[in-house]
């Protein structure tokens, strides 16, 4: 056998010390950190023992391990008690998630789901080795973490995960509609387990938080959202990107940091509860909510506008402008549009004229909106034509027409029509 290994090593050139310098960019920060760690003295956070407090579950499909922890509903994650989930309003969730199913979601009967996998690429070889499902039970929040002591336990654990998810009224996750759900579903299909997610309502907090705070936060990560919205501060957190290596170390019998992965995974789930509570309260009058109020109000204005709830949208747009939103000009455009919708043509025109004085995409959009407003709203083709002319000048002044492409599209057609109208009127 070692003869074969020798041959493989030679043929595959696996043993060749990298004769050629590494191609491409420098290794990512986490890897450099890891390499530096390996060189240093034994890391006290590393441990060869199995993670603590594991229990063994036995199913028809075999055994696997899990850990259960219980938190009182008054437990504060960051600055927010878990019981705040009761302040979340269904209609608000439906609004921010743009999903009417979420309006009916009984949050105390949902599972809060977060998965640690061996990689982000997906595919049959990606294993979910740690699956956390949190759920309220009376005055307690029970956190269940299914864990694979070896890859052979995967089917057994997935059977149990499928049962637990199917038993819930809905799913709450962060980016889980795009990632966690599919990792579980794919592997359930591999093992012939009916995936439970099909019709189950799923509140994926990533998108609501993007809609409300996207422009104000530096990134879309869970850690950013929980810090800004719930005051969560993690200490010595092991980044999710290093979870696979911890599990591989454990499997190989090397010192590992799985305990940190369990903690990271637990904190993710607790954050799901407090973030769901937060986004469910964003319409609550008098609640002093953390987070960027201008961005939030701006986001709400857009959400209501999309629902054609013009009066409420306008109200939130005004509030946003008071707070100073991160995107004042595009919000101004929205507000003008809302004013026009409510019939306040003059107010809309004044707001648009202000915006049109600039030299950016918003100015171009404002000119287009003005042209429409004058043509159809106040039946003034001459002024409409003038706005078209200004838009054309603006677009021609730009080195490339591209930034204004959207506004300029159809401009010639509009100009021609206006020309005909003017000729007829004359």
């Amino acid at each position: 056998m070692s003869e074969l290994a020798d041959k493989l090593r030679r043929l595959r050139r696996d043993d060749a010390p990298p004769a050629l310098p590494a191609k491409g960019p420098a290794p990512p920060a986490w890897l450099r950190e890891r390499l530096a760690e390996d060189i240093g003295a034994a890391d006290p956070r590393r441990n060869v023992a199995a993670p603590r407090d594991l229990e063994v579950a036995r199913t028809d499909a075999g055994a696997f391990a899990y850990r259960e922890e219980q938190f009182d509903e008054d437990h504060r994650h960051g600055e927010v008690p878990l019981a705040d989930i009761d302040h979340a309003v269904g209609d608000v969730l439906g609004l921010v998630a743009k999903d009417s199913a979420c309006a009916e979601l009984p949050l105390r009967d949902c599972v809060y789901l977060d998965v640690e996998t061996t990689g982000l690429s997906g595919g049959a070889g990606t294993i979910s080795f740690l699956v956390a499902l949190g759920r309220f039970d009376g005055s307690a929040f029970r956190l269940w973490q299914g864990f694979l002591r070896d890859p052979g336990e995967e089917a057994a654990m997935l059977v149990d995960v499928a049962r637990r998810v199917a038993d819930a009224a809905g799913v709450v996750s962060f980016f889980g509609k795009s990632f966690d759900r599919h990792r579980l579903e794919d592997k359930m299909r591999v093992f012939g387990i009916e995936p439970p997610f099909g019709e189950l309502p799923h509140l994926d907090l990533y998108w609501p938080i993007q809609r409300l705070y996207g422009p104000a936060f530096p990134d879309g990560r869970l850690q950013t959202a929980e810090r800004e919205l719930a005051g969560v501060r993690r200490e010595d957190d092991l980044p999710g990107s290093r979870a696979p290596e911890a599990w591989f170390d454990f499997l190989a019998g090397r010192g590992h940091r799985l305990e940190d992965v369990f903690r990271h995974n637990r904190d993710d789930v607790l954050s799901l509860v407090v973030l769901a509570a937060h986004v469910g309260r964003v319409l609550e009058e008098g609640a002093a909510l953390p987070g960027a109020p201008g961005a939030r109000a701006s986001g709400l204005a857009r959400l209501f506008a999309a629902r054609r709830e013009t009066a409420r949208a306008l109200d939130w747009a005004e509030r946003a402008l008071e707070h100073g939103p991160p995107d004042p000009r595009s919000l101004g455009l929205l507000r003008a549009d809302l004013l026009a919708r409510t019939g306040e043509v003059e107010g809309a025109a004044a707001a648009l004229e202000d915006l049109a004085a600039g030299e950016d995409e918003v100015a171009a959009d404002a000119l287009l909106a003005l042209a429409k407003l004058y043509e159809h709203g106040s039946n003034d083709p001459a002024r409409a034509a003038e706005c078209c002319g200004r838009l054309r000048t603006l677009s021609e002044r730009a080195l490339t027409g591209r930034p204004y492409a959207r506004a300029v599209r159809g401009l010639a057609h509009r100009e021609e029509r206006l020309g005909r109208k003017l000729a007829r009127d004359a």
Partner: protein
């Protein structure tokens, strides 16, 4: 097998076309006047003062009646009705046989010529499986050579629509938008794809394709003769993965394969699938008569061995073969040749009775719109002359033309017939003229017209168990599903290799891709291996060739080839365009090239050292008991190649116009080699000891390397050559021909099996060559190999080929001189 004659287009092919009523109404527009009779062209050629002596052989593939058969009983009447309604009332006999076997649940390989109606051989069983299962059955169709044609999928959908069923066929390739992919995974009854998508997209994500795999009845693979070398060996492993995944979901798909005619179809299919198949190779489709002419340009300078230029000869032939009343296709092997010949023929058009617009070029690199225009012009008859490369060899429908002129042998029998298959209208005689270049293979073909028309001679090198390929594919397979060891510790579901468990251990213990527990290997790495495993054997050590100006990649060359192909000053050729390498950044695996119009190419000289690692088999002829004459060997070797200098050689004249040194580190590779050794006794008897011994011996090796592709499906460049007058291992004159792929993909083994054919062809080439003392078309120019080389090589070959043939001998006992 009776013959390989080309079949008439409008027979089996009919079933492959889109059969909407509208399509049937669109007849070919009327042509101007009657097509010029091929007989008239042949008569002119035979009496033409300049050309009649240049055409050294005329042969005929006679017309043949088609043999028809009924649709096999047991086919669902709904399926049969759809074909009857479209005008197919009976099948050709081979189609009926293939369908019968498929319906019996056999794996089938249909190995018949182009346009004999192979598509129908798998369309019928697939539709039958859908009819039987009320639409539950699924099938996967794979096309290894061409960009996936939407036509095929549309044709299937048209058939299905005619049956009034709600089944769907979809094309799944890199262009399939994500929104369509989901529909396709769930509702695609017939999924058309290619090996790359199967390898990187479908198999690693098999859970998403669970519907397909649960009900997978048939796997259809087109053009399996193209599955050779590294690519074929890799695809064979992809098929192993496919079968494993299907089995996991409870299905046991049957394989329906098609190929050009093959020398050993059964053995090829068995290597590919790991199980025997039923071969159907008796073609029942009808054939019109085909005339084949072999044109050998005259020797201009017997001392230098210079023949008239093949492209010039094509121009000469055009005077007879081109005209306003028929369509002629010229095939060139280089893109630049297409441009040169097109320009000339456009200039000559008025004299030939054509307008310049009726002469068109067609090759890769043209914009799609332009290509469509030429294709349409060929179909409608508006284009009378097209000059092309292999771009028009496969797949694209341009109708059938009248005369084909091949400027040079295309390098393989399948290619030859695919090109020849472009001509031959219903019931009309057609003509194929091949112009032989100054190259041993071309010269052999010119002297042996039977080589083309008799049974195929090429062996296919394929070794799915090559350790490098196998170990990479095992990574992909382990990602898809864990491997289980049987009680004996072996792994049974990945081919016959005994090394599977050992490789899995290696991947687990040394590379940490896998985790072994309780008899099972699991993939435990944060990686998506199919992304990094290339079916064509590309590896990270490959050198990327970049346009020095735009920094766009223009090509890629493997590690071993880089030191002779992209050293500073090398002329790098892509599709006939010449690029000069300005700088080879060895460490970063990048070569920077500038496009130039070079009139020379470069030929790098190497010092190659072959060290024998292990000998496996030997064939030996004894002079007398215990006294060896010569031996042929197969074994494993370690090859070290050092590039020393390069020569600049003019195209066509092969005149040496300068030389420079190369300064690069050596390359090392372990692979399989075929070796030919001559005992000292035989060597001195053959005067190998006199004068130019070394260069004559090397010239012979070079000739063998160049004629090998006649009997081996490969390019001459796939074989490496090293010759020694006194090998350190064998202590006697040795020629090594080794597989240039790490670990080898079966070329050396196929060469070992067929080496006497190769020797015989080499001798024929030497004897048939008009040159005085060696030329590029035989042992090489005498200026390089010495003036005795041709004679010496002929003597050696005649000696080796004399009876008795060598027989199996002991490998250990070298009978070395003490």
């Amino acid at each position: 097998m009776a013959n390989m004659g080309q079949r008439e287009h409008d027979t089996g092919e009919r079933d492959e076309r889109v059969e909407t009523p509208a399509a049937r109404l669109e007849a070919r527009p009327a042509r101007r006047g009657a097509p010029k009779d091929v007989d008239a062209i042949v008569r002119t050629l035979k009496s033409h003062p300049e050309l009649k002596d240049r055409i050294v052989h005329w042969s005929k593939v006679p017309a043949r009646e088609g043999k028809t058969a009924d649709f096999p009983v047991g086919l669902d009447p709904r399926v049969v009705d759809v074909f009857r309604a479209a005008g197919t009332t009976r099948l050709w006999s081979h189609q009926a046989r293939a369908v019968e076997l498929a319906l019996e649940g056999r794996d089938v390989l249909v190995s018949t010529p182009t346009a004999s109606g192979k598509t129908l051989c798998y369309t019928l069983p697939v539709l039958q499986s859908l009819a039987e299962s009320s639409g539950a059955a699924r099938s996967l169709w794979m096309f290894p050579t061409k960009a996936l044609s939407q036509d095929q999928s549309q044709a299937l959908n048209a058939k299905i629509a005619a049956m009034g069923e709600d089944w769907h066929s979809y094309t799944y390739d890199g262009d399939t938008p994500p929104s369509v992919r989901r529909t396709l995974r769930e509702r695609g009854h017939i999924v058309l794809t290619n090996p790359w998508m199967l390898h990187q997209g479908i198999l690693p994500n098999h859970a998403k394709w669970a519907e397909l795999f649960r009900e997978l009845r048939y796997v259809v693979i087109d053009e399996v003769h193209t599955l050779s070398g590294v690519f074929g060996s890799s695809v064979a492993n992809v098929l192993r993965r496919l079968v494993r995944v299907a089995k996991h979901y409870g299905s046991d798909p049957k394989f329906l394969l098609s190929s050009a005619t093959l020398r050993e179809p059964q053995s090829h299919a068995r290597k590919l699938l790991g199980r025997p198949v039923e071969v159907v190779d008796e073609d029942g489709s009808p054939a019109a008569e085909r005339v084949i002419a072999l044109h050998n340009p005259p020797m201009l300078d017997p001392v230098a061995g210079l023949r008239a230029n093949a492209l010039e000869e094509a121009r000469r032939l055009a005077n007879v073969c081109v005209g306003p009343h028929h369509q002629t296709i010229f095939f060139c092997n280089r893109r630049t040749a297409v441009e040169v010949l097109t320009r000339y023929l456009k200039e000559a058009a008025p004299r030939l009775g054509l307008s310049p617009d009726e002469v068109r070029g067609y090759r890769g690199g043209y914009l799609p719109l332009l290509r469509r225009e030429v294709e349409e012009g060929l179909r409608s008859g508006a284009v009378k002359v097209v000059v092309t490369t292999n771009a028009l060899e496969l797949g694209i429908d341009v109708g059938q033309l009248d005369v084909a002129v091949l400027v040079g042998y295309p390098g393989g029998q399948a290619s030859f017939w695919q090109r020849a298959g472009r001509v031959g209208r219903r019931g009309k005689k057609s003509l194929v003229v091949m112009i032989a270049r100054s190259d041993p293979v071309d010269q052999y073909v010119a002297q042996h017209p039977d080589y083309l028309t008799e049974a195929p001679r090429e062996r296919i090198g394929l070794d799915p168990d090559n350790l490098v390929i196998l170990s990479e594919e095992l990574k992909c397979a382990a990602f898809e599903l864990p491997f289980h060891a049987s009680e004996g510790g072996d792994v049974a579901d990945f081919g016959p290799s005994e090394n599977i468990a050992g490789i899995l251990d290696y991947l687990a213990d040394e590379l940490s891709f896998l985790h072994f527990k309780d008899g099972t290997w699991y993939w435990t790495a944060d990686a998506y291996p199919a992304q990094d495993v290339s079916l064509a054997g590309h590896d990270p050590d490959n050198v990327l060739v970049l346009d020095v100006e735009t920094k766009n990649a223009i090509g890629e060359i493997d590690r071993e080839g880089s030191i002779v192909g992209v050293h500073d000053g090398a002329i790098y050729q892509v599709e006939g365009e010449t690029w000069k390498i300005e700088a080879f950044d060895y460490e970063n695996r990048r070569a920077y090239a500038k496009k130039v119009d070079s009139d020379y190419f470069t030929d790098a000289q190497t010092d190659t050292e072959v060290r024998v690692l292990r000998l496996e088999e030997r064939l030996v002829r004894w002079r007398e008991p215990c006294l060896e004459d010569h031996s042929a060997w197969i074994g494993e070797v370690h090859v070290t190649t050092l590039a020393t200098q390069y020569k600049k050689i003019r195209f066509y004249t092969r005149e040496n116009v300068g030389a420079e040194d190369i300064h690069l580190p050596p390359e090392e590779v372990d692979t399989e080699a075929f070796a030919l050794t001559l005992s000292e006794e035989a060597a001195s008897e053959l005067l190998l000891h006199a004068g130019d011994r070394g260069s004559a011996w090397h010239g012979l090796g070079e000739l063998l390397r160049r004629v090998a592709p006649l009997f081996l499906r490969c390019q001459p460049g796939d074989l490496g050559l090293s010759t020694q007058v006194k090998s350190p291992h064998f202590k006697r004159p040795t020629i090594y021909l080794y597989d240039r792929v790490r670990g080898g993909v079966g070329l050396a083994r196929a060469l070992f099996a067929g080496h006497r054919e190769v020797l015989a062809a080499a001798l024929d080439v030497l004897r048939g060559c008009d040159c005085a003392k060696g030329c590029p078309a035989c042992v090489g120019p005498s200026s390089e190999v010495g003036s005795e080389a041709k004679g010496t090589a002929e003597l050696v070959l005649a000696h080796l080929l004399a009876e008795p043939a060598p027989e199996r001998g002991p490998v250990e006992e070298l009978a070395l001189e003490s």
